[in-house]
């Protein structure tokens, strides 16, 4: 009878261990999948912003704006277009071509987030007739 109890206890401990393992696995995996989903949502927000700003000519207009004007324009637009639950920062590098690329301007607008999950979206835009090229890099976080 005692040996039976020992066996039973032993098996119960094994079940507890297995159940714990199940809980841990569920937690870890759902955490990982959740992070991916968050990243997709952040990416979509950044993508929408950059596509619309490229299509409406805002990015190209930056070639002819001062840094201060560009920052102000971008801050205003981000305020309206980035969802309130998110925060974004955009960095624009402007280059010109004359035999090689020379990148002399770097403009940063918006604010950085503090949460771990973020998405980075890039957009290239050009005014090739005037040999001007730009890359916008947007980072988006949840607040």
């Amino acid at each position: 009878m005692r040996r039976g109890v020992v066996f039973t206890l032993d098996a119960l401990v094994a079940v507890v261990i297995a159940a714990t393992a199940l809980v841990v696995v569920v937690q870890l995996l759902s955490l990982r999948t959740g992070e991916w989903y968050k990243e997709v949502a952040l990416y979509n927000a950044g993508e929408d912003f950059l596509i619309s700003r490229d299509k409406d000519g805002t990015l190209k207009e930056i070639f002819d704006k001062t840094d201060a004007e560009a920052v102000s324009t971008l801050n205003n637009l981000m305020q309206f277009q980035i969802p309130p639950s998110m925060v974004a920062r955009i960095n624009i590098t402007i280059c010109s071509y004359s035999g090689t690329f020379s990148c002399t301007r770097s403009i940063t607008a918006g604010e950085s987030g503090t949460t771990e999950t973020k998405s980075v979206v890039r957009r290239v835009f050009t005014d090739t007739e005037k040999n001007r090229y730009g890359v916008a890099v947007m980072e988006v976080w949840y607040r």
Binding site: G4, V25, W36, Y43, F101, V121, V124, T126, T128, E129
Partner: protein, 300 residues
């Protein structure tokens, strides 16, 4: 002892079941997570593809709009350094835009890698095997051709172009086709309904009096402008052994051109010989498609 044995056996089975459930969940969750991450990678690839395509469209200066059976090409002539600009753009994309995990390759029709400056300047409209092309991206000419047997697929063609570098050197009433296009019966093979309008920079407008032409007979219109070196030659029908819907030669003129085709079907599509392949190196996921410029599709 028997009860103890039973309990032990049941608990052991339970243990094994839990382990199996854990493993199954881990497997399915992991593949689910993989699918979500692949979704993000696909999104990034598609986005990069469209971003590059958008810029290539702008550099070529050509935009195409389709609305049901109507297809409109808006173009500007001549092209200024388009081939060089395409080359510089590719260089910039590789140096500054692409991250190390993203790879971009331009491919010819046989899937051999080429540089973007070798982008083909021929667009094919299928199933008619009709072509819209230039000799090269210097765009001092435009050739539009369709096989004779397919001419009935076109209900009519309208062509408007405006020259911004000068006025007609003669009164519009004195502009004559030599030879004049051969008129024909619309709907018969080889007969094209064609409306031509040309504007100069002074607001003068020439409207061609010929509204049909037979593609087997040549028609030629020479337009001269006050600007000394600007002239335009336009042929319809045969020229140098080939048949054209339009054969346009432009010399030292700035031209904005808009040509529209109305087909007898909405079932047509455009083919561009050069392809673009964007690949995520880490996931080995890619998108390969024709550089179809941007075709704006309008609803009714």
């Amino acid at each position: 002892m028997k009860r103890g044995f039973m309990l032990t056996a049941i608990t052991t089975i339970l243990f094994l079941l839990l382990i199996e459930v854990t493993l199954q969940y881990a497997r399915s969750s992991s593949s689910y997570s993989e699918r979500v991450s692949e979704m993000l990678v696909s999104e990034k690839i598609g986005y990069t593809f469209d971003d590059i395509m958008d810029d290539i469209t702008n550099i070529t200066g050509l935009s195409i709009t389709q609305q049901e059976a109507n297809l409109v090409f808006k173009d500007s002539f001549p092209g200024s350094g388009i081939t060089d600009r395409l080359g510089h753009y590719e260089e910039f994309v590789r140096q500054r835009y692409l991250t190390p995990d993203m790879e971009v390759v331009f491919l010819d029709p046989t899937d051999q890698p080429i540089s973007l400056s070798s982008l083909s300047s021929t667009i094919t409209i299928e199933p008619f095997n009709m072509t819209y092309k230039y000799s090269d991206f210097a765009k001092t000419d435009l050739f539009i051709q369709i096989p004779y047997t397919q001419t009935t697929a076109i209900d009519f063609v309208w062509y408007n172009f405006s020259v911004s570098t000068g006025n007609f050197s003669e009164d519009v009433d004195d502009i004559k086709w030599t030879p004049a296009p051969n008129s024909c019966t619309p709907g018969t093979q080889g007969c094209i309904r064609f409306y031509l309008k040309v504007n100069d920079s002074g607001g003068n407008e020439y409207i061609s009096p010929y509204t049909t032409f037979d593609v087997t007979k040549q028609g030629h219109l020479n337009l001269n402008f006050v600007s000394e070196s600007c002239w335009i030659d336009l042929w319809v029908g045969p020229y140098s052994g080939e048949q054209y819907l339009l054969n346009l030669r432009i010399q030292d003129c700035q031209v904005r051109s808009e040509i529209g085709f109305t087909f007898n079907t909405t079932n047509f599509w455009l083919n561009f010989p050069t392809k673009l392949k964007v690949r995520d190196v880490n996931y080995n996921t890619s998108k390969k498609d024709a550089i179809s410029l941007i075709i704006t599709k309008l609803l009714k």
